[in-house]
């Protein structure tokens, strides 16, 4: 890993792009878990398992 304080503009741009991609992936994961939870809860509430 390069030192963020000494990296050039190209490396800084790449790092920023990677960080944004990682943030988006994490946000997507949280949204998926939330939505799946609601869908599964909703299905079970509508037809409770015996």
């Amino acid at each position: 890993m390069s030192d963020p304080k000494n990296e050039g503009p190209g490396a800084a741009r790449s790092r920023r792009g990677r960080n944004i991609a990682l943030a988006l992936a994490l946000a997507l994961f949280v949204i998926i878990v939330f939505v799946v939870t609601i869908v599964r809860l909703g299905a079970n509430a509508a037809a409770p398992p015996l």
Binding site: S2, G17, R18, F29, V33, V35, V39, R40
Partner: protein, 327 residues
């Protein structure tokens, strides 16, 4: 992995990785084929499924496939650097550290399997985990560098996604789902061996015992024909088992026939026998005129498999009834 690539100190990166390099670790083109076949399996199960859960199941399969691709690139970085087709990959090109690819592969594998189990069902999760382990460990680490049957046995990993999709929708793994697996399984050897007939030098340089390297081109051409003779009738089978309809039957019959013709032409040719006058038509690999039948079969095999699964998908979406000719 060679001793050289297992040194404790990772080589310095030549340039900083962009997010696209990490995306490339997931082998997006392979992933798109996996998504396509898994989606076909999921829809062919004919089980009502919440569309959000269906999308999550496909995402899990895609991420699992990508994770196994990252693990493959981590382990194979040393031989990837020696082959024209793979030397531009992020690790051999010096843009991503091998350890990063390993971490990404392991993390995504665990997340995809856990999510599949918690959100969909544990049969699909188990099959997904098996697929990842089979590709990353059995094929990549064990078979690939040891036996010319590497892509035959290892092909099971690439064949399983329709079954995972089917299991995700229905929680079952019936015979029709295994039929889809069998089609991809028997399609794999003609597809990859046709490619290896005109990339033999690359595989030989990297020390990968592909069939043409170990047994020679003539034996490979005969085996391609043998697998095609099994594949063509197998491709028709879904029309007899209540899976495919009239459109599928027509596509499988025409495609299978053409596959056989191309495999026979290849068997009668001297493709892969030696270096001759090379044609440089802009393709990644320049081929000798005699090796053209190999490239034709390779290209058509992709279209053939795509057509079979596309026909099933179209019939399912359009609501066409399956034929079930055995009844």
């Amino acid at each position: 992995m060679t001793d050289q690539s297992v040194s404790s100190e990772a080589p310095p990166l030549i340039q900083a990785a962009s997010w696209r390099d990490y995306l490339r670790l997931l082998k997006p083109r392979v992933m798109s084929l996996v998504v396509f076949t898994a989606l076909t399996g999921l829809l062919c199960a004919r089980t009502p499924m919440n569309p959000i859960l269906a999308a999550v199941a496909i995402l899990c399969i895609a991420v699992g496939a990508g994770a196994s691709g990252a693990l493959n690139m981590w382990y194979d970085a040393d031989i990837d650097a020696l082959m024209r087709r793979t030397r531009g990959r992020p690790i051999p090109a010096g843009r991503v550290q091998g350890a990063d690819a390993l971490a990404m592969g392991v993390t995504l594998s665990m997340f995809s399997v856990a999510m599949m189990g918690l959100a969909i069902n544990w049969l699909a999760a188990g099959l997904l985990a098996f697929t990842i382990v089979f590709y990353a460990v059995v094929y990549t680490m064990w078979l690939k560098r040891r036996t010319p049957q590497n892509i035959v046995i290892g092909g099971l990993a690439g064949a399983l996604p329709p079954l995972v999709g089917w299991a995700a929708a229905s929680g079952t793994a019936p015979l029709n789902a295994w039929l889809l697996v069998a089609i991809v399984f028997f399609w794999t050897p003609p597809h990859f061996w046709a490619l290896s007939l005109y990339t033999t030098e690359d595989y030989a340089r990297a020390g990968v015992p592909m069939m043409p390297v170990v047994r020679g081109a003539a034996s490979t051409r005969r085996q391609i024909l043998a697998y095609s003779v099994i594949l063509a009738p197998l491709g028709l089978a879904p029309a007899f088992t209540g899976l495919g309809g009239a459109l599928y039957l027509a596509v499988a019959a025409c495609g299978g026939l053409l596959m056989l013709v191309l495999a026979a032409r290849l068997a009668l040719s001297d493709a892969g026998d030696g270096a001759g006058r090379r044609i440089d038509d802009g393709a990644l690999y320049a081929v000798t005129p005699s090796s053209k039948p190999a490239r034709n079969l390779f290209a058509f095999s992709i279209l053939y498999l795509f057509s079979l699964f596309a026909a099933l998908l179209i019939e399912r979406v359009a609501g066409f009834a399956p034929l079930d000719l055995l009844r």
